[in-house]
C-alpha cells in the first residue's frame, strides 16, 4: 500500500518519544468533581527506522473494555527494532466512562458519547477528551484504528471502514487497511456522513484530518475463556496485518482470498426487558448464514418466567453479533445481521483490493 506518512519525524524528534524505544506519557485533560486529574495515558513504540505512524485506541466507550488487555499484549509484544514507523496506543480513551463501566460519560452533557463528540467545542467531558485525543494522538498519526467490542454478554465480529470521505483517496486507503485486518468480511459504509457519523473518532479523523481509519469490533466479555482468547488473537493478528499493510512491519498482510463487502446490517435487539436466552451457542452462530425467520433468541420475564419476546432474523443474513444469556433492557445488544440481499452486498477478489 502506498501511503504518505509525515508524522514519524516529528514523533522521533520529540525527546519524550525517542526512536528505537518504547515510552509512556500522561497528558492531563481536566480535573473532575471528585478531585481526580483525568489524563490520557499514551504508549509510544517508535521504530528505529522512519515509516508511518499508526494510532490505536480502545475504550472510547467505557463498557467496551475487553480489548484494553489486547492492546497491552500488542504493545508489550512489539519490538521497536523491528518497526519502520511507530505505534501510538491509547488503551483507555475514555477514563471517566471506563471508571463507571458505562458506554457514555455520566454527566448531563448533550454529547455524552465520546464517539459522537470529536470536533466538539464545548467543555463537557467528552468534548475535552475528543479534543485531547485529536491533538495528542490523531495529529501525530498517519492512520487510526479504533477498537470496540461487545459489553458484558454480547460479542461482535466485524471490521468497518468508511467509503464516503470527502477525499476518495482516504476511503480507498481505509478499505485497504480494513482488508489487511484479515477477516473474510468488511463493512464498508457511509461512516463519515451516516453512522457513526462525522463526530465519531474514525469519521472525524478521515473527514476532517484526512487520516484513514479502521474500526475493529471483535469479541465481547463474559464468554468461554477460550473463545475470548480467540477473539484477542484475531485482534492481534488484525493489528499486525494493518501494520504490515502500512509497511511498519515487514511481510504481507493476512488478507483473505475472498472478502464479503457489505453495508446493510440489521439489529435484532429486544424491545422488552428480561432475561435474554440465545437459541444457539454464541460460538456456533458468529458469521453463520441463516434464513429469514430463524429464531435466534428469546427474552423471558425474570418475574413470571414467561417468554415475553422472540428474536427472529428479519432478513436472510449472516450473524455479525451474538449474545449469551444475560439480563437486558429494551434495545440492549443481542444480534446484528449482515443483510445478504441488501444493495451493495457483494464478494470481491483479493486482487481488487491491493
Amino acid at each position: 500500500m502506498s501511503i504518505e506518512f509525515s508524522q514519524y519525524e516529528a514523533l522521533a524528534a520529540d525527546e519524550a518519544t525517542p526512536p528505537g524505544r518504547r515510552s509512556v506519557r500522561s497528558v492531563p485533560v481536566f480535573t473532575d468533581l471528585d478531585g481526580s486529574d483525568i489524563a490520557l495515558v499514551i504508549h509510544a513504540v517508535v521504530g528505529a527506522r522512519p515509516g508511518p505512524v499508526l494510532a490505536l485506541h480502545t475504550a472510547l466507550h467505557g463498557s467496551e473494555w475487553l480489548v484494553v488487555d489486547t492492546l497491552r499484549r500488542l504493545v508489550e509484544g512489539l519490538d521497536p527494532a523491528e518497526l519502520s514507523g511507530a505505534v501510538l496506543a491509547l488503551p483507555v480513551a475514555n477514563p471517566v466512562a471506563f471508571s463507571s463501566g458505562t458506554r457514555n460519560t455520566l454527566d448531563e452533557s448533550d454529547s455524552p458519547d465520546l464517539n459522537r463528540s470529536f470536533g466538539g467545542e464545548q467543555t463537557w467531558i467528552a468534548d475535552q477528551l475528543g479534543r485531547a485525543i485529536t491533538a495528542e494522538l490523531y495529529a501525530r498519526a498517519d492512520a487510526v484504528m479504533d477498537f470496540h467490542c461487545g459489553i458484558w454478554g454480547s460479542a461482535m465480529g466485524s471490521v468497518t471502514c468508511g467509503r464516503d470521505f470527502n477525499d476518495p483517496g482516504v476511503s480507498e486507503r481505509a478499505f485497504a487497511l480494513a482488508t489487511a485486518f484479515g477477516l473474510e468480511h468488511v463493512r464498508r459504509s457511509d461512516l463519515a456522513t451516516r453512522f457513526p457519523g462525522p463526530k465519531s473518532g474514525v469519521g472525524y479523523a478521515g473527514q476532517v484530518l484526512g487520516i484513514p481509519g479502521v474500526i475493529s469490533e471483535v469479541g465481547g466479555a463474559g464468554f468461554d475463556p477460550e473463545l475470548e482468547e480467540l477473539w484477542a488473537q484475531k485482534n492481534l493478528r488484525g493489528i499486525r496485518g494493518v501494520l504490515q499493510e502500512l509497511g511498519v512491519l515487514t511481510g504481507p498482510p493476512p488478507r483473505a482470498d475472498r472478502i464479503l463487502v457489505y453495508d446493510g446490517v440489521v439489529r435484532v435487539n429486544p424491545s422488552t426487558a428480561g432475561m435474554l436466552e440465545p437459541v444457539f451457542k454464541p460460538e456456533d452462530m458468529m458469521r453463520v448464514e441463516v434464513p429469514r425467520g430463524t429464531l435466534l433468541g428469546r427474552v423471558w420475564s425474570p418475574y413470571t418466567f414467561e417468554v415475553v419476546e422472540e428474536l427472529r432474523a428479519p432478513v436472510r443474513g449472516m450473524v455479525d453479533m451474538v449474545c449469551r444469556d444475560y439480563p437486558v433492557r429494551p434495545g440492549d445488544w443481542a444480534y446484528i445481521m449482515v443483510d445478504l440481499d441488501a444493495d451493495g452486498t457483494h464478494w470481491v477478489d483479493r486482487s481488487v483490493t491491493t
Binding site: 488487555d69 497491552r72 483507555v92 466479555a221 463474559g222 464468554f223 432475561m275 418475574y303 418466567f305 444475560y326
Partner: protein
C-alpha cells in the same frame, strides 16, 4: 399426611396442587409504573413446611434467577408437600439498573440491610412487602446472592447467634443438606450482614432457619456456569427432600464439607484490570498462606500495581476472572481452615438426604 388447604397470598387463592404467579403491589414509581413483587406460589397437595426462596435482593446478583426458573419448572406441586414461595427478583428497581442497591437517595439503599422495612423508601416498602407476604408465613428461608459479572461464589452462610439454639442447629443441618462444600457459620445478627438482613431478621426475629446461598457467577463460560446452576437446583431439591416435601433423592453430598467462621476478603485496594490466577474452576479448592491469587494491572500504564496474596491457609469460597475492578470489588475469598472454630464434616460415600 393431611391434605393441604388453600393458601391466601395477597388476596389471591392458591389451591393445593397449583402453581400461581402473584404480583403483589408495592408502590407506584416516579416513572408512573406500578412496582410489584412477583411471587411464584407452589402449593403442595398435602400439608407441610413453607419454604421461601428469595433471589436478586441485590440487583447485580441475577445469576440464580435462571436456576430458580428451572427449579419451578421441575417441581410438580401435585407431588409435593407443603408450600414453596419463590421470589426471583426481590429488588426490581436495582435489577433494572443492574446495581447492587436501589438507585435512589435512601439512607438504607441496600435491601439486605433494610428488613423489616421502616420508612417509605422503595427499599423499605419492598422489605415490608417481603416480610408481610413471604417471610412471615415461611418456615425456612433460602436467600440467593452473588453472581455479578466477573466473580463467582460457592458457599452458604448461616447464623450462629440466633436467640434459639435450635434454629442455629436446624440452619446448619439444612446447609449441609444443600450440599455446599463450604459453610460459613458466623454472627449474622451481631456482625455480618446484620440484624436487618434477610437471614439476620428471619433467624433473629422470626425464629426460622435461614440460609444465605451463594453459588456461581456470570462470565465464566457455559461449562462452569451450567454446573453452578445445576448445583443450585440440586441444592434446593436436597433441602426440600430433607424437609420431606419432595420424594426426589438428591445427589450425594460432597465427601467432606467445611464449616468455618473466619473469612478473609482478598479484594483489590486499587482500581485496574484484575488478572486472576485462580478463576472459576478454582472455586472450593485449597490454597496456602502466601499464594499469589491475582494481580491488578493498570489499564493505563500496563504496570502491575497490586498483588493479591492469600493471608491464610484456606478454601477459596469466591474467585474472579480477568475484569476491570474498582477498589473493594470482589476478587478472592478465603475460608480459613486453620481457625479453631473450623471443622470438617466427613460424609460417608453416597450420603444423601432421603425424601418422605
Amino acid at each position: 399426611m393431611a391434605d393441604a388447604v388453600s393458601l391466601l397470598l395477597a388476596g389471591r387463592t392458591v389451591v393445593p396442587g397449583r402453581h400461581e404467579v402473584v404480583g403483589i403491589p408495592v408502590t407506584t414509581g416516579l416513572n408512573g409504573a406500578d412496582l410489584r413483587l412477583w411471587v411464584h406460589a407452589l402449593r403442595g397437595w398435602s400439608a407441610g413446611p413453607t419454604v421461601a426462596l428469595i433471589c436478586t435482593m441485590h440487583g447485580d446478583e441475577w445469576f440464580s434467577i435462571a436456576p430458580l426458573r428451572e427449579l419451578v419448572a421441575r417441581i410438580d406441586p401435585r407431588r409435593m408437600s407443603g408450600t414453596l414461595l419463590v421470589v426471583p427478583v426481590a429488588n426490581p428497581p436495582a435489577l433494572g439498573m443492574q446495581q447492587r442497591n436501589t438507585p435512589d437517595d435512601a439512607d438504607s439503599p441496600d435491601l439486605n440491610r433494610a428488613f423489616p422495612g421502616t420508612h417509605t423508601w422503595r427499599i423499605d416498602q419492598l422489605a415490608r412487602t417481603l416480610t408481610e407476604h413471604v417471610l412471615n408465613i415461611a418456615d425456612v428461608l433460602l436467600d440467593f446472592h452473588m453472581g455479578p459479572w466477573g466473580s463467582t461464589f460457592r458457599d452458604v452462610l448461616i447464623g450462629d447467634d440466633y436467640p434459639d439454639a435450635a434454629v442455629v442447629a436446624r440452619s446448619e443441618e439444612l446447609a449441609l443438606a444443600f450440599g455446599s462444600p463450604i459453610i460459613r457459620r458466623a454472627g449474622v445478627v451481631r456482625n455480618f450482614p446484620g440484624p436487618r438482613s434477610s437471614i439476620g431478621y428471619a433467624g433473629g426475629v422470626l425464629g426460622i432457619p435461614a440460609l444465605g446461598v451463594e453459588v456461581g457467577g456470570a462470565g465464566f463460560g457455559p461449562v462452569l456456569e451450567s454446573a453452578w446452576r445445576k448445583s443450585t437446583v440440586d441444592g434446593v431439591m436436597a433441602v426440600l427432600s430433607a424437609l420431606g416435601m419432595v420424594d426426589d433423592l438428591p445427589p450425594p453430598r460432597p465427601a467432606r464439607q467445611l464449616i468455618y467462621r473466619t473469612s478473609h476478603r482478598v479484594n483489590p485496594s486499587k482500581g485496574g484490570l484484575l488478572r486472576s490466577r485462580f478463576g472459576g474452576a478454582a472455586l472450593a479448592t485449597e490454597v496456602t498462606a502466601g499464594t499469589l491469587l491475582g494481580e491488578v494491572i493498570s489499564p493505563y500504564t500496563f504496570e502491575v500495581i497490586e498483588e493479591l496474596v492469600a493471608p491464610a491457609d484456606g478454601m477459596l469460597f469466591y474467585t474472579a476472572r480477568d475484569h476491570p475492578v474498582h477498589p473493594g470489588d470482589w476478587a478472592f475469598g478465603i475460608a480459613q481452615t486453620s481457625d479453631p472454630h473450623a471443622r470438617w464434616v466427613v460424609n460417608e460415600p453416597g450420603t444423601v438426604d432421603g425424601g418422605r
